[in-house]
């Protein structure tokens, strides 16, 4: 396999790159939905991020990707560590699972291993894509065309971090913690709002409108195709800088604090745009905290909120089909209002 396209070599698309970094720093943010036209580098960015992350340690041969260091975890259905404190480990790349549109429930959650059941009469579970995606990324291109019941199921597992299978006489549960990344083109069918709401962040990408950017995209893709490894080497420093930034941020994350005033601003913002439910506030808070950690700061400030608010709230606006204003505009209006209003503390920030 040739070297993956470097994450830092992607031209522009700052918001998408930031959202992916935030999701990588804090999984609890709950996935990213990328809206945009074809050929805007959506899947390139996601694949690049997965390839950028350092390889992970896995219990040798485990089909469920168990972490050897996590001795307290519930044993996987295969009981791969067999009670050992320090099981034999192997190194694997962070999984990147591409979920095809017509994926059946069997293939996603796993199913009875037909071959073993029929040929040997054993009742065995064959893990599905969710098990493969554990500790990595699950990417669904055109998630708006995916069957609704599969989307429900995915979001449910993504939120709980656990896949529970109760069917065909099987009763299996295993860990499935992954970053769910969806992409889609709203012109080809809408996503139900209640599903959209369960994605943590939502970003909109466009093809670069600027000719210089477009030429730069072509130049880089061209250089990458002509000599992938030389191209990757050119970006090696930047890649390792991003890698270190993610690692540092993840370590710093538990120490990042949020002042009450900032929390209040977050709530006020959510109220101003009329976001339903509390998921908006929670995501906004987590994303702002992850951003502060990425910036190597120990306290979340109002400007962090302002930067992540569009991606955390864009898809939670109450829909009004007769309102022409785009969601981005409405959020920016609300930010402007709320950030003006509050006390001097937030303003100073």
């Amino acid at each position: 396999m040739r070297a993956a396209f470097p994450f830092t070599a992607i031209v522009g698309q700052a918001e998408m790159k930031l959202s992916l970094l935030l999701a990588a720093v804090d999984r609890r943010i709950g996935g990213v939905m990328v809206f945009g036209d074809r050929g805007t580098g959506k899947s390139t960015a996601v694949r690049a991020l997965a390839a950028l992350l350092p390889p992970m340690q896995v219990v040798a041969g485990c089909r469920y990707g168990c972490d050897p260091a996590d001795a307290g975890a519930r044993p996987c259905p295969d009981d791969c560590r067999k009670g050992a404190k320090r099981p034999k480990a192997e190194t694997r790349a962070v999984p990147f699972v591409d979920l095809p549109l017509s994926a059946t429930e069997d293939r996603v959650v796993g199913a009875l291993d037909l071959e073993r059941a029929l040929a040997r009469g054993e009742k065995a579970f064959e893990p599905g894509l969710l098990a493969r995606a554990h500790r990595g990324f699950l990417y669904i291109d055109e998630v708006n065309l995916l069957e609704d019941h599969i989307v429900d199921l995915l979001l449910d597992v993504a939120a709980s971090g656990e896949n529970v299978v109760e069917r065909e006489g099987l009763s299996v549960r295993h860990n499935a913690r992954f970053i769910l990344i969806g992409s889609g083109n709203p012109e080809e069918g809408e996503l139900r709002p209640q599903l959209l709401d369960r994605f943590g962040l939502s970003v909109e990408v466009r093809t670069p409108g600027d000719l210089a950017d477009r030429v730069e995209v072509m130049r880089r893709c061209d250089a990458y195709e002509r000599d992938g490894s030389a191209f990757a080497a050119r970006f090696a420093d930047e890649e390792s800088a991003v890698l270190a930034q993610i690692a540092r941020a993840a370590a710093l994350l538990p120490e990042v604090t949020i002042a009450d005033a900032v929390l209040e601003t977050a709530s006020r913002l959510c109220m101003a745009i009329g976001a339903d439910g509390l998921r908006g506030e929670l995501t906004l808070m987590r994303a702002a905290r992850a951003l502060a950690a990425l910036d190597a700061e120990r306290a979340v400030e109002a400007r962090h909120l302002a930067r992540v608010a569009p991606m955390a709230l864009r898809h939670r606006l109450r829909r009004n089909p007769l309102d022409e204003a785009g969601s981005g505009v409405r959020i920016e209006r609300a930010i402007a209002e709320v950030m003006q209003a509050p006390g001097p503390r937030a303003l100073a920030a």
Binding site: R38, T40, L101, T207, V217, M218, R219, E225
Partner: protein, 614 residues
Amino acid sequence: MSERDERAEAAWADALAVARLFAADPCGLGGVVLRGPPGSARDTWVEAVRAGLGEGAAWRRLPVAVDDERLLGGVDLSGSLAAGTRVMARGLLAEADGGVVVCAMAERMSAGTAARIAAAMDAGAADGAAARFGLILLDEGVEEERVAVALAERCAFRVEIGQLPRNGALALDPLRPFGAPPPEGMVSASTSLSGGGGGEADGGRSAPCLAACGQEGLVALATAAAAFGVDSMRGPLLALRAARAAAGLAGRDTIADEDIVLAARLVLAPRATRMPAPPEAETVGDAPDDPGEQPGDTPLPPRDPPSDAGPPPGDPDAANDPLADIVLEATRAALPPGVLAAMEAGRLARAAGNARGGAGALKKAVRRGRPAGTRAGDPRTGARLDIAATLAAAAPWQRFRAAQAAGGLDAAPRLRLRRDDFRVKRFVERAESTTVFVVDASGSAALTRLAEAKGAVELLLAEAYVRRTQVALISFRGSVAELLLPPTRSLARAKRALADLAGGGGTPLGAAVEAAHGVALAARARGRTPLVVMLTDGRANVSRDGGAGREHAQADAAKAAGLLRGDGIAAALIDTAPRPRPETAAFAAALGARYAPLPRLDAGAVRDVVNALG
């Protein structure tokens, strides 16, 4: 030679140029969407690619209904059952590594298969095995269906193929060496490929060409892509690869201007979604006025790009043109006839967006809905295996099969299952509906009527995710009925299509009913339940042939209404006249439509009428 023949031959020469480029780098160029009826032209073209690939390159045909195991590789179910151990099979895509996959009837391919192939193309691998291949998607192009966008997007070329040109010299000799001059009288695009002598197709393929591209070339492609509304970056990137393949075929080690021009013409032109803003005043009149004819009218020089790296002699202006302008002009000249008209309606790119394959409606019923018994079938097509029924089907044969296998393996399976035993569950699902709005945009009341119809469409779509409704909108005025919004569930798309609606003119009611009928039948063919909702005051005054005259027009409308009714399509007619007249009610009866006079029209009321019916 007539102009038509010339055009056909130029198109055929282009098609053969595509075949050569594609054969030089099938994996890099992604593929070719070949649209046209099956026949000798298509076969000749496919053979040209195969010949260009040379010996030993993989060549696989992909059946339209292929299961995952065959496509990507996996457990060979029947083999495993027979052998009693796990037998793995290589997937078709992995087998085609380094070669070409040919898909017949690609327009009928299911969205799922298309998505898997697209993912394999992106990753260069299928289920862990290397799978770098080029696609030939044969699209018979008869119906509205199109090749899945996910695949078309990843293919560098789109070729329309009709008949072999009458002067079939090129056709009969697809293997003509690359440098050979074209037969006399032929307009040949491939002359531009004939630079160096040493550029053999095989050489280009075995060692991937690494010809470098100057800044000017990159800018030219990016500019042309932007000017023609090719938003996806895949367009210019694939064009760059095509230019590189052309340079390789010509034996150059840098990409020349003519390679860029050729690539723009073959890759970017078919992807165009709009015309570039005209640089000079004189072209302003040309483009919109004469959309269908323009490419044909353009004199031949632009079709035949400068063959020796430079502008054609005798054209003093062009001598100063930077490459970008030459590329723009060549791309413009290569736009297929009729494409401009479609662009003006802004429908080209989006019409393709809906091609999800006819199997969609059927496929859903495989997995969801109310259980409706079991039948024999292959569980790998996505159906749920009914284990109890499968065992029951296998049970009576166990003794016989055991006897048959006696003396074979000693590790014999306890249960002997054959492929025929498999039973899968069946489900039936309630059909989803498609509401076709037919809005009278004629006369003075047009604007309010249109505004309210637009509001109703948006209200219906806003709740479409609950009711799983699709909505389409036809507007009629003057002498024609126009499908403004093909059936969709997307609010974003509807908003864009409905942004500016024109009103005024005559009332071609007959044409409107006919158009609605067509959309409704297409929806039904996709397994949906159509519902036609007309908003009109019912006064037809333009007949289907465009002639005026109230009586003829009304007879026409009544006839069309009878046909619609004959197909049993549910309909509603909302009478928007200030004072409802009995004739309109009669017309509703002819349609077999529910009649609802709504003199004070509003979007909410229209929505309620539709909901009451649906």
